[in-house]
Assembly symmetry: C2
Homo-oligomer: 592 residues x 2
Amino acid sequence: MFNAANWLGIAIDSTCGGRGTCGKCKVKMLAGALAPTEADRKHLTPAELDEGWRLSCRALVHSDCLVDVPRLMTSPKAALLGYGRHVALDPNVHKVFLQLAEPTLDDQRADIQRVKDALLDAGFEPHPTFLVLQVLPKILRDNNYRVTAVIVGDELIALEPGDTTGEMYGLAIDIGTTTVVVAVINLNTSAVVAVKSTLNGQASFGADVISRISYTMMEPDGLRTLQTRIVDTINSLTDELTTQAGVALNNVYEIVAVGNATMLHLLFGIDPEPIAQYPFVPAIEESVTLPISSLGLHAHPEARLTTLPHLGAYVGADIVAGVLATGVARNKDEKNRLYIDVGTNGEIVLGSAKITLATAAPAGPAFEGAQIKCGMRASEGAIESVRIDSDVQLQTIGNAPPIGICGSGLVDAVAELVRCGAVDATGRMLSAEEARATHRIPDAIVNRLIEVNGVRAFLLSSPAENIILTQQDVRALQFAKAAIAGGFRVLMQKLNLADDDLHEVLLAGSFGSYINPASARAIGLVPWIPVERIIAVGNAAGEGAKIALLSFREREAAKRFKEFITYVELSADPTFNDIFTDALAFPTRQED
Amino acid sequence: MFNAANWLGIAIDSTCGGRGTCGKCKVKMLAGALAPTEADRKHLTPAELDEGWRLSCRALVHSDCLVDVPRLMTSPKAALLGYGRHVALDPNVHKVFLQLAEPTLDDQRADIQRVKDALLDAGFEPHPTFLVLQVLPKILRDNNYRVTAVIVGDELIALEPGDTTGEMYGLAIDIGTTTVVVAVINLNTSAVVAVKSTLNGQASFGADVISRISYTMMEPDGLRTLQTRIVDTINSLTDELTTQAGVALNNVYEIVAVGNATMLHLLFGIDPEPIAQYPFVPAIEESVTLPISSLGLHAHPEARLTTLPHLGAYVGADIVAGVLATGVARNKDEKNRLYIDVGTNGEIVLGSAKITLATAAPAGPAFEGAQIKCGMRASEGAIESVRIDSDVQLQTIGNAPPIGICGSGLVDAVAELVRCGAVDATGRMLSAEEARATHRIPDAIVNRLIEVNGVRAFLLSSPAENIILTQQDVRALQFAKAAIAGGFRVLMQKLNLADDDLHEVLLAGSFGSYINPASARAIGLVPWIPVERIIAVGNAAGEGAKIALLSFREREAAKRFKEFITYVELSADPTFNDIFTDALAFPTRQED
């Protein structure tokens, strides 16, 4: 009931975040009987029970009921996070400063019982870890029984001398195949105190997940090597960021990490081979919680790592985090939204208030600039934006002289060539003669239609810089975008939705941030909806990790996404091939 | 309700041992309504729910109710263990042979989900350990999805190739201050396949718990040293016994260990100092469950260690195990029983059907033969039994020439001297003249009353062997037995019980096994009840560990002993000093 209310945006009081220990989330049943639970009997008086009061977090609802939610005694801390999500701040880490009575002959409670009793009074019932038990007698007596309990989830992971409640940090980590982002977050204030991204240390072993998996299959120690690389990548970022922010590693108690299924399998040292082989099955999809010592991550020695779950082998925890950050699934406004994370593997989520579908489309590396004649990564000198009117106008990263073209530039270039007619709807590039014969393509553009080794091409830059876009490049982009489009078209068909039925298209990931929405639409990479409703949501995965770190309720919701998001396996869908073929062409409609 | 029925000796069907997962323990409510639990909804049909069927293991009873327990479909395995306990065999370790369907495009469940689903069908819902996740993809595929799941408690600790259900072992360990006993037990058959005791490797650091604790306080690495010693002691026994029995260490999945609070603190590496210092508080009293890797014990790498709880700083898990093995507490026959474990520290439990009290009495080392002029441990050449009629008859361990006297011999000797009148009721040893003047003490005995350095003594052996019992020795025994007697008298007084109200006295521990019941009674070490009702129960602690290993229900019951056994702190009891003083004298009644 507590979670249902949370979904509906109804705030119910709670200190423990729905664990049945604080007794604050009571509601009054007005219709629909509910038997008292153990927690009810513990926290409520018999009179309250008779009046119908129940703890909402323990109340399991199996049929309709009507309840009265008391006005909040304190206004709950909340923040706008992700893509306009209003998130209740309720971290999974809690600190409680304890001032314990010293033992006497009349009070010979064991040390741990003394601590547990005091924590129960504060609304917590955690299990102590073994390390806590080992240091217990000394830390209590050395500090006159004034210590701070550090609770992560349902575990008491540390006792610290004196009152340390002010220092409480966590890490939100997005493990991308290419880029890893670590954010150090103050769990008291929800402030990001330091954040940085860097190249995934596995990158030298392959650009995409398939080549990483191949590496583990071919090298005897490949799996260990890749695991070590990602752990080292995360640790260097953590060390640098905590130093920079003046945060002690010992005050970092929890890590939430997201990433695709392969990245998380590699982080855990679990053989990812079956992900790459028919019928594409991961070892685990569920959320995992571990002591970080199992992996050698840097933080408090007893800190816990939690990963979000995957929806399928190719729709991973990064997408679950993105869904969490954007509210695509189970949204309250009953509008249909399409979430697309464009990359070598395109992940697509089509969400509505009732039904949400997800799939993965194998786009290939074109959007990363790979297998494109003059393609390159989005780094200095890459053409990132192309505009064609009387002639070509280029914009490069860092305003450097152009040395190649990256994904967003490629999408722009093809979109502009299609718009001006130099590439037709089927993707065929016109020869200079054909272009001149249309009488509507400017001469400067016609003159850029050349042949290189007998293959048609378009000269984007000056002849000296010689950045060209070939007919094959256009074909490569067509295949890539048709894979994505085929994916969302299959999902839209399953829900009987046309383009006009879509309220928004959310483009996630770094590629989604740099792409020109109009160009994406022009080549058919996204459905045809008004361009202002095609929105770049940035690193939604990282935002989702942050939300899961800051809100236990949101994390629990994300863990249950699998229950109401249906994973669609495209290679098992009989309509996919036809839809893919249709999606190869460029849209003929070119204006709103 | 399941546990209540178990206490009452009513067998309810169950595979999972009361974890709410097998669905077999259903009972029908005849009177007293009980709301359905989540487990009920999962395992029972709506029709069954309406008819009043509930899973007894999840049913929490808060008021009287009447239920119908179905006849058992299979007769439950049970065994007579401990002191005539009828114990349901229901180990905490389960093996399930799985033959899983291979994944297809239509069945892309993650590996772990596939395993979990199959286990749920078998009535188990365990959490996989991280190591299981790491090996999961390979072990499933290498063995054509035919593997054996090893479940300990609610954890899936291993997957083994093929069907290994026949090999399932555990260890029951009794960690005595002096002696450590390890038993290797076949969890399928409950047979003890190998058992051995050896000296606790800590013995060279002190004979009793106080000297061990002192060692940890005085030596910088003392705690680590003692921890290493006990771990090594256990490991050598385990290695030797498993080799001898042909049991692979990898097939040993669980360990149950008992011992006094100090022994278990040292095993865990927890500072025991506060146990020895006012106000005598242990760090933990509760049952602890740990992966054995935390301690470096030998068994399956993911095996779990569970200790039984303590009742107080000086009434430890060994006594809890003894109570479990003897059924002293919560017995069904409504008779009062007194359980005494005589040692440096005497532990006493006075149990009835309704109320059970426990206490510890600081007897000192007299019963161990220490601080006795010719005292020695119970080893070859020790006088273990003394009979006085016309002259002294001695029995020594190994029938060797006497070289000293051990505890049981000491009790015998003093009892016989009191009986024949050479020691009076106050403990005063008569001089030869005084003895002769009584005209009822045989001459041979009178002649043995001598003086050594101005102190009265009794020559037990030949003059050449010169084993003597001094007046101080008698005083030392008086103080020791008065401490024990003071303890049980305080408990009896609290329950208003006289000697005649006691049904049995159970003497536990090795000392309890060797002591002559009539002599114990003659010196007042036990209450005056018919001698045939003073029973040596042997190593009850070890038996209790075995029961806890073989029966999850019994283990759970033992974990809750603290709820209904009241710990009495003698040093806080205002009547103890008077009672102790009264108990110094020897009983004047000397026949049944």
